[in-house]
């Protein structure tokens, strides 16, 4: 039934819609014809086609969300991303790909997730001996191969999460986009809907904060 949503192909007046945060100079892939057709049908009232859009883009959204929120909260956050996307469809511009637009919503939903958690004063536990051992082993890794092996260990994920939980939601979000994912300041700003200056300043402060946290850990801090 949902597959029927993709049978017709009609030219769409996407230029009529403009996304406020869309930057015309950004060279992002255009929305695929299949997505356009599904979106046109949803706008025409066939809302069931949104289920097919979810199926098409769920792996992409899960990839973004799973790196940002705890494993137990991935499903609920992905659900929120698609609900938000549905209600935001009227503001979608065809000038960027649907994937890219959805990525922005996913990043902002994860940011909101940490904002709500931050307010709830989530306690941060201390690093254990195993974590300190992991840090020592990583720092003394003799080869690149050994270094990468250490990075794949469970302790590595725990140390990363431990450090990230001490950052503010803003710093966490910007650090993830710019320093961990390696996105440009401009791309991060566009995904978050913030100004480039704001992202640049926060990226600098976030990295400084992370280094401070790591330094404190070496002195026997939290």
């Amino acid at each position: 039934m949902m597959g029927d949503c993709l049978t017709a192909t009609t030219a769409l007046p996407w230029s009529e819609l403009r996304l406020p945060m869309a930057d015309a100079s950004l060279t992002v892939a255009q929305t695929s014809p299949e997505d356009r057709e599904l979106l046109r049908r949803i706008q025409a009232g066939n809302t069931d086609c949104f289920a097919e859009l979810i199926s098409r883009h769920q792996p992409h959204v899960v990839r973004i969300v799973s790196r940002r929120v705890p494993a137990d909260d991935i499903d609920a956050t992905v659900h929120d991303v698609f609900v938000r996307a549905y209600f935001g469809l009227g503001g979608f511009s065809g000038s960027v790909s649907f994937d890219h637009w959805l990525a922005g919503i996913a990043v902002r939903t994860c940011y909101d997730f940490w904002r709500s958690r931050h307010r709830a004063e989530w306690p941060v536990s201390a690093l254990t001996d195993a974590h300190h051992r992991w840090i020592e082993q990583t720092l003394t890794a003799a080869s690149d191969e050994e270094f990468k092996d250490h990075a794949r260990k469970k302790e590595a994920t725990e140390v990363l999460e431990w450090a990230m939980r001490q950052l503010s939601p803003e710093h966490r979000t910007v650090l993830t986009l710019v320093h961990l994912e390696g996105r440009s300041i401009r791309e991060a700003a566009e995904l978050l809907g913030w100004s480039t200056v704001n992202v640049k300043v926060r990226a600098f402060r976030a990295r400084r904060a992370l280094r401070g946290i790591l330094l404190d850990s070496s002195r026997g801090g939290t």
Partner: protein, 109 residues
């Protein structure tokens, strides 16, 4: 003892590598789509009930903004008039000054 700058950079690089390690998350696509569509349908039902309230709220918003705009305009007009009246009463009006000049004979006419 603290880390050196090189050690900190190495640690940051290790954490970046860790971040890129693929996360295994079993995703049931059909189930997620069903859950989202259920939520959307519930929202739509609630939306129909709340539509009238929404319209009323929108009209109230419009009314409040209009009244506020009119009130601001009236206050502005009253302020301007008050200033004018005060100037006139203290003899600062340029018009009155001009009239005074005209009424006074120059060069002993």
């Amino acid at each position: 003892m603290g880390y050196s700058d090189d050690e900190l950079k190495k640690l940051e690089r290790a954490l970046t590598e860790t971040f890129h390690v693929p996360v295994d998350h079993p995703a049931d696509q059909g189930e997620m789509a069903r859950r989202v569509m259920r939520t959307l349908r519930r929202s739509a039902d609630a939306g129909e009930l709340g539509q009238a309230a929404g319209i009323a709220s929108g009209l109230l918003d419009q009314f409040v903004w209009r009244v506020a705009t009119i009130a601001a305009a009236v206050v502005l007009a009253v302020s301007v008039l008050t200033v004018q009246v005060l100037r006139t009463s203290t003899g600062e009006s340029t018009l009155l000054l001009a009239e005074e000049f005209e009424a006074t004979p120059l060069f002993g006419d």
